[in-house]
């Protein structure tokens, strides 16, 4: 692992927390995949397997008041941010107790309490929104940081270009985090971009940028600290490219015809949990008991989340059209426009 992170954060406790969060996401999603085959979870399900170091490296660096915009591959972001696992799971079930009241599902996790601005299923769609959150902060002077996550596939969209220009032009506090996992569904980076060194694109907007090994949680965290600090101090956007890899299929429907099993296997050897855990072990920073304790805690949390989701309630069909518009009074419930 890199040793560039500020020393104070290299405490054993902190390291264990990073590891714990990555394992927590992984196990949660393994459970989701299982529940998907049981048809408890439906629709599209996009797993973060292999990319956990990005959310875990970046999000804890943010303050509570900061805001986050994510994509349809956002379970990890929501969990690390502190959206309660049980409300995330209930959302995947489509239950009223879900963090989006069951209306959104896997791709639309929202949580006002933690300033989690969703889950967006339109590739690139969250970028202008993040610019707007940054603009509001710029005008309100709250000194926030807006972290906006998106895949490298989104870089080809016009909205990427418009958003970077606006953020730079207006001096908005947006941290653009590109999760470059080298594939957009089945389209490899070289098939979607003429210039594959993504972080260099930020230069053409005058935005400071950096690329980091997104499989190394310590490196990501160190880069995120620099980035968040720069945004907070300079009130300007910053571009962080995290080079990572998606170890599973794009969604549950993807037969992965576009890449070799061998490529995936090679990458799996370097995946962030194994790698970080190995490093901690080699440095005697973790003991077997730590790991079993962590895993046991997480398993309990997951079991509780599943139980919560299972016993959750279905929204009555009479309430179908609710939340299309704000409700001025209770009598609006069930009223058609």
């Amino acid at each position: 692992m890199t040793a560039r992170a500020d020393k104070p954060h290299l405490s054993r406790e902190h390291m264990l927390e990073l590891l714990r969060q990555m394992i927590r996401i992984r196990r949660f999603e393994d459970k989701c995949a299982e529940l998907y085959t049981q048809e408890k979870i439906r629709g599209f399900l996009h797993l973060y397997d292999g990319e956990e170091a990005v959310a875990v490296g970046v999000i804890p660096v943010l303050e509570k008041r900061d805001r986050i915009v994510a994509t349809y591959r956002e379970h990890g972001h929501a969990l690390v941010r502190g959206v309660p696992m049980k409300t995330v799971m209930a959302e995947m079930y489509g239950k009223q107790e879900g963090c989006s009241r069951g209306r959104g599902g896997s791709m639309h996790l929202f949580d006002a309490a933690t300033n989690f601005y969703g889950g967006n299923a339109i590739v690139g769609g969250g970028l202008p929104l993040a610019v707007g959150l940054g603009l509001a902060d710029h005008m309100q002077g709250h000194n926030l940081v807006i972290a906006c996550f998106f895949g490298e596939g989104a870089v080809a969209e016009g909205e990427f270009h418009e958003s970077l220009n606006l953020a730079a032009l207006w001096g908005l506090p947006v941290l653009f985090v590109c999760e470059n996992n080298f594939y957009a569904m089945g389209t490899a980076l070289a098939i979607s971009e003429s210039e594959t060194d993504i972080h260099r694109k930020a230069e053409s907007y005058g935005v400071v940028s950096e690329a980091v090994d997104g499989m190394d949680v310590v490196a990501v965290e160190a880069a995120a600290r620099r980035a968040v600090q720069a945004v907070r101090e300079n009130r300007k956007p910053y571009f962080l490219e995290c080079r990572t890899y998606r170890l599973r299929a794009h969604s549950m429907f993807d037969p992965q015809l576009y890449r070799d099993k061998a490529e995936v296997e090679a990458r799996r050897k370097n995946e962030p949990i194994v790698r970080f855990q190995g490093w901690l072990q080699a440095n005697q920073m973790i003991h077997p008991e730590d790991l079993s304790r962590i895993e046991a805690e997480i398993d309990a949390e997951i079991a509780e989340a599943v139980a919560f989701a299972e016993t959750g309630t279905w929204e009555p069909v009479e309430q179908l059209t609710r939340f299309t518009y704000a409700e001025s009074d209770a009598s609006a419930i069930g009223k058609m426009p």
């Binding site: 009241r101 209306r103 202008p128 929104l129 993040a130 939340f323």
Partner: protein, 335 residues
């Protein structure tokens, strides 16, 4: 009510000036309000609506944007979600297509997808309509088309009162509201009460009472329809003219009350005929007031052609008073 006030002091002004007063008023009343769009500041607005506001409110709140319709509309959505009250100007409806993903997939869905945790109190203004010989890419009338989208509201101010009064009400709305200003109205002058202020945005207005036929319309077509109503009156036909004002939601009650009385209706709408708002209004009448109808409902819409440049063809492509008269007479069996 939104009828021209005659009792108090009135001031003669243009529709353009009424919109500007509304903008200025909103900016003064609420510091969360700001205006953002292409050339709203230094240029003074492509139809001169925001001329002078930059000097008064500065470049942060009268914010010139780059040509990035999707980007700055999305930025308006984000700013609205974070407590501001943005007014995004999309210059004209013709360019709004570039922002449609943000409008339909984000602005209109966020409240629902988030289970009511986040709302988008955003106002989007744009000019709409043909009549200035701007040809196929600059003459769309898509407000009725936008009215298809659940999650947004769609307003079409036709009068000075509404141009002056709808904006503030829209800004109070917790959900996205699109306001369409017909390009042919900006130069229209009229009298407006000196103390004119916010108006409701829920009700259609009866702009002319009549017993023989209901002419239902909105926006730029209102004035052509009123002209047609005068011509009909000369032939002894008393048409009732309804100004829809809000295209989404539609005020069914006012429409049905009128048709229930007149038993005949013609709908006038500058959108292309197929899939026009006129079809929706007509279908609602069929659903809700079929048994009151004494004749088929008629509609006068734009012809199914991209708007051509030459004046005579442009005029023929969009609704005009004589066509409305003819449709009304046909509905009355007096063709």
């Amino acid at each position: 009510m939104t009828q021209a006030a005659v009792q108090t002091d009135t001031i003669e002004m243009t529709y353009r000036e009424a919109v500007k007063q509304a903008l200025r008023d909103a900016m003064k009343r609420d510091e969360r309000v700001f205006l953002m769009g292409e050339d709203v500041g230094r240029y003074g607005g492509c139809y001169a609506v925001s001329h002078g506001l930059l000097a008064e409110f500065g470049p942060e709140r009268i914010r010139d944007t780059p040509l990035s319709e999707s980007g700055f509309t999305g930025a308006g959505i984000g700013a609205a979600m974070a407590g501001m009250r943005p007014i995004v100007e999309l210059m004209t409806v013709n360019f709004s297509l570039l922002a449609l993903d943000q409008i339909l997939n984000t602005a209109a869905t966020v409240r629902h997808m988030s289970g009511n945790q986040f709302g988008v109190p955003l106002v989007i203004r744009m000019a709409t309509g043909a009549g200035r010989q701007l040809a196929a890419q600059h003459s769309h009338s898509l407000e009725g088309w936008y009215a298809h989208i659940p999650g947004i509201k769609v307003l079409a101010p036709a009068t000075l009162e509404d141009a002056r009064g709808m904006l503030w009400t829209a800004l109070q709305d917790p959900d996205p509201v699109l306001i369409f200003e017909n390009v042919m109205l900006y130069n229209m002058t009229g009298k407006l009460a000196a103390d004119a202020g916010p108006v409701d945005i829920d009700k259609a207005a009866v702009r002319r009472a009549g017993r023989d036929i209901s002419l239902i319309t909105y926006g730029g077509s209102l004035w052509k329809t009123l002209e047609a109503a005068s011509a009909l009156a000369a032939d002894g036909i008393e048409a009732e003219v309804i100004d829809l004002r809000s295209l989404r939601p539609l005020d069914d009650a006012t429409i049905m009350a009128s048709v229930g009385k007149t038993r005949r209706a013609v709908i006038v709408d500058e959108g292309w005929r197929s899939g026009s708002l006129a079809a929706e209004v007509g279908m609602r009448v069929v659903e809700q007031a079929f048994w009151s109808l004494d004749a088929p409902i008629g509609r006068v819409c734009s012809e199914e052609v991209p708007i051509p440049y030459p004046r005579h063809l442009e005029n023929a492509a969009i609704p005009q008073a004589p066509k409305i008269v003819a449709a009304a007479k046909a509905a009355l069996g007096r063709a």
